[in-house]
């Protein structure tokens, strides 16, 4: 599949773009993931080293299918589905899919860390920088987090808006019913342990005491071993397939070949200048509505457009792609590398 350089100065697009409402103040923002995918991703190839692609086939007649031949279905009984279109899903929450309405502010320390799921950086869009700075400053000095619910890509999220060092972060929180209680999983009430036993554990913990988290302990040792092994084989000429790319060998900073190289740059720039509001995709769609790229895919009937779509998908984090894959129920998605997800999604 041809990798095409994408034109335009935009770099990675926001994961979601919409409006932050603070009282009657409207603040258009973009959300960029604060997490990225694993530092290494593997491709699926055949014995000759040809990169394999994923295709959908109908389970009934075995025919290969294009995107515009697919539809989402919810199982209601055996082999019977209710089909649902993206338009219908979008129409379920027209305001909430456009807007994070900060109706509540709570003390930051009241948010239980086990609720936090994923973080996104907020960047102001054009014309919103001043309001962004104002809100960030006011929240930081008062030690408050904004709380709201909103809809992003076909799912509602509870979100906490946090301000730190002049930068706003939106962190999704698990809803109450998404968390199990100890009783839910069948754990009995904790008893009151014997003093001697507590002392025993306290002294076991004592030699382990450290005052700060050593971030080196958080390194992905597995990925590092994998890259090391692959580089060693490359050097030794063992199981090496294909030829060196001649010119324009892609430089991917710090060897993190699977993370969008310019996410950080885009973030830096858009925090500084305020991003242009996202142009609605072909047709009159707002950016936040491009759920799982499905409808865009449907519009793009011309075969040549796939490369562009693939490139656009490559800009997203693995997590983002995984969610798209989840929304589309791609089998084997949890085992797929980022590139495999891009391939599977761009078909």
């Amino acid at each position: 599949m041809a990798k095409k350089k994408r034109g335009g100065p935009a770099g990675p697009r926001p994961f979601w773009s919409g409006t932050l409402a603070f009282g009657l103040v409207s603040l258009p923002v973009g959300l960029f993931p604060a997490h990225r995918s694993k530092p290494v991703s593997l491709h699926m190839v055949d014995a000759k080293g040809t990169r394999l692609a994923r295709r959908y086939v109908c389970s009934k007649d075995g025919k290969p299918l294009e995107w515009d031949q697919l539809i989402r279905g919810y199982p209601v009984e055996k082999d019977r589905f209710v089909t649902v279109t993206d338009k219908e899903l979008d129409a379920l929450a027209p305001e909430k899919s456009q807007e994070i309405d900060l109706k509540r502010f709570v003390p930051v320390e009241e948010l239980d860390p086990m609720r936090f799921e994923r973080a996104y950086f907020l960047t102001p869009e054009k014309g919103a920088t001043k309001a962004y700075r104002l809100l960030a400053r006011a929240m930081e000095t008062t030690g408050r987090a904004g709380v709201a619910t909103f809809v992003m890509r076909g799912k509602e999220y509870l979100v906490a808006l946090l301000s730190q060092g002049g930068i706003l972060r939106a962190e999704t929180l698990r809803f109450e019913d998404e968390l199990r209680t100890p009783a839910d999983v069948g754990l009995g009430d904790p008893g009151s342990p014997a003093t001697a036993a507590v002392k025993r554990f306290q002294s076991a913990l004592k030699p382990l005491r450290a005052e700060r988290l050593d971030e080196a302990a958080l390194e992905d040792r597995e990925s590092q071993r994998l890259i090391k092994l692959a580089r060693r084989k490359l050097k030794a000429g063992e199981d090496v397939l294909g030829k060196k790319r001649k010119r324009g060998a892609r430089k991917t900073g710090s060897g993190a070949s699977s993370s969008p190289p310019d996410l950080l740059e885009t973030l830096k720039r858009s925090l500084k200048e305020g991003l242009e509001p996202q142009e609605p995709a072909p047709g009159k769609k707002s950016a936040s509505k491009k759920t799982a790229s499905k409808k865009t895919a449907r519009k793009k009937t011309a075969r040549g457009k796939t490369a562009g779509k693939e490139a656009a998908l490559s800009e997203e984090s693995r997590e983002a792609l995984y969610r798209r894959a989840q929304a589309r129920d791609l089998p084997g998605r949890s085992r797929m590398s980022k590139q495999e997800l891009v391939d599977a999604l761009s078909e």
Partner: protein, 255 residues
């Protein structure tokens, strides 16, 4: 209702060894759709194909390759991948005991409860109490199904809990970013903003927030199932407030 444990292991803190079971503290409530073939409504399946020939390739015949920056690929055999896998073990090793909060929640991934492996939970209770008295949380490492995990060992409602952590490479550092800048903020606007936050201030009550959208999706499915009509309304988007002072003043008056 009790849930099934997802894994069994032994929590190791120095000389202490506590056999434990892990239970997911997260319940999946998402609405899961299947992809169907539009015309005959049959579910689709995915196959691997050689994109050049269009011929399907059985999954079992597919191999893994790593791509170098120069475009070459290195085949990684099952044996290669096995050497990369961490050694099998049931030990959840406590690496350090940190002051509570030393592990920023941005590292957090998924929470799991620890229950006793067996009926005797006295050691788990003692461990939880020890952590609470010391005001500490643990940093732990273990291997679960050929994958290495790091976790924060915390206490939740008296129960020890492991929250898996993201790897260092997976969290975008905020120190690499600089906040939007500009002219000094208007004092009056800042005061009004703080005042507005004050008016909207409350305690965090998680029960107050419901996933209404999920319910609407289920209602939509139900309506369609019974052959009812559904609406398709186009959403619209608000513009940036151009006069901040006025918008803030109006917000304060409204309340």
């Amino acid at each position: 209702m009790s849930a099934r444990a997802i894994w069994k292991g032994v929590l190791v803190a120095g000389k202490e060894r506590v056999p434990v079971k892990l239970y997911s503290a997260v319940a999946d409530r998402s609405v899961h759709f299947r992809l169907l073939h539009r015309t005959d409504k049959a579910p689709v399946r995915q196959v691997l194909v050689n994109p050049g020939t269009g011929k399907p390739v059985p999954y079992a015949d597919s191999l893994r390759a790593w791509q170098a920056d120069d475009g070459r690929r290195v085949l990684l055999t099952d044996d290669d991948l096995a050497t990369v896998n961490p050694d099998k073990s049931r030990d959840i090793e406590l690496l350090s005991a940190l002051p509570l909060g030393a592990i920023d929640h941005r590292w957090y991934d998924r929470p799991y409860y620890l229950g006793p492996d067996g009926d005797d939970r006295s050691d788990l209770d003692a461990l939880a109490t020890a952590l609470e008295r010391d005001n500490r949380e643990g940093l732990a490492r273990w291997v679960m199904r050929d994958k290495e995990y790091l976790g924060a060992l915390r206490v939740h409602e008296g129960h020890p809990m492991l929250v898996t952590l993201r790897h260092r490479e997976q969290v975008v550092s905020q120190t690499a970013l600089s906040a939007p800048g500009g002219a000094a903020l208007d004092r009056r606007e800042l005061d009004m903003s703080k005042q507005l936050i004050g008016m909207l201030e409350t305690h965090f009550d998680p029960g107050e927030y419901q996933d209404e959208y999920r319910q609407r999706v289920m209602d939509l499915i139900d309506t369609k199932r019974r052959g009812g009509k559904v609406r398709k309304a186009p959403p619209k988007r608000r513009r940036a407030s151009s006069d901040l002072t006025r918008a803030l003043e109006a917000s304060l008056k409204q309340r």
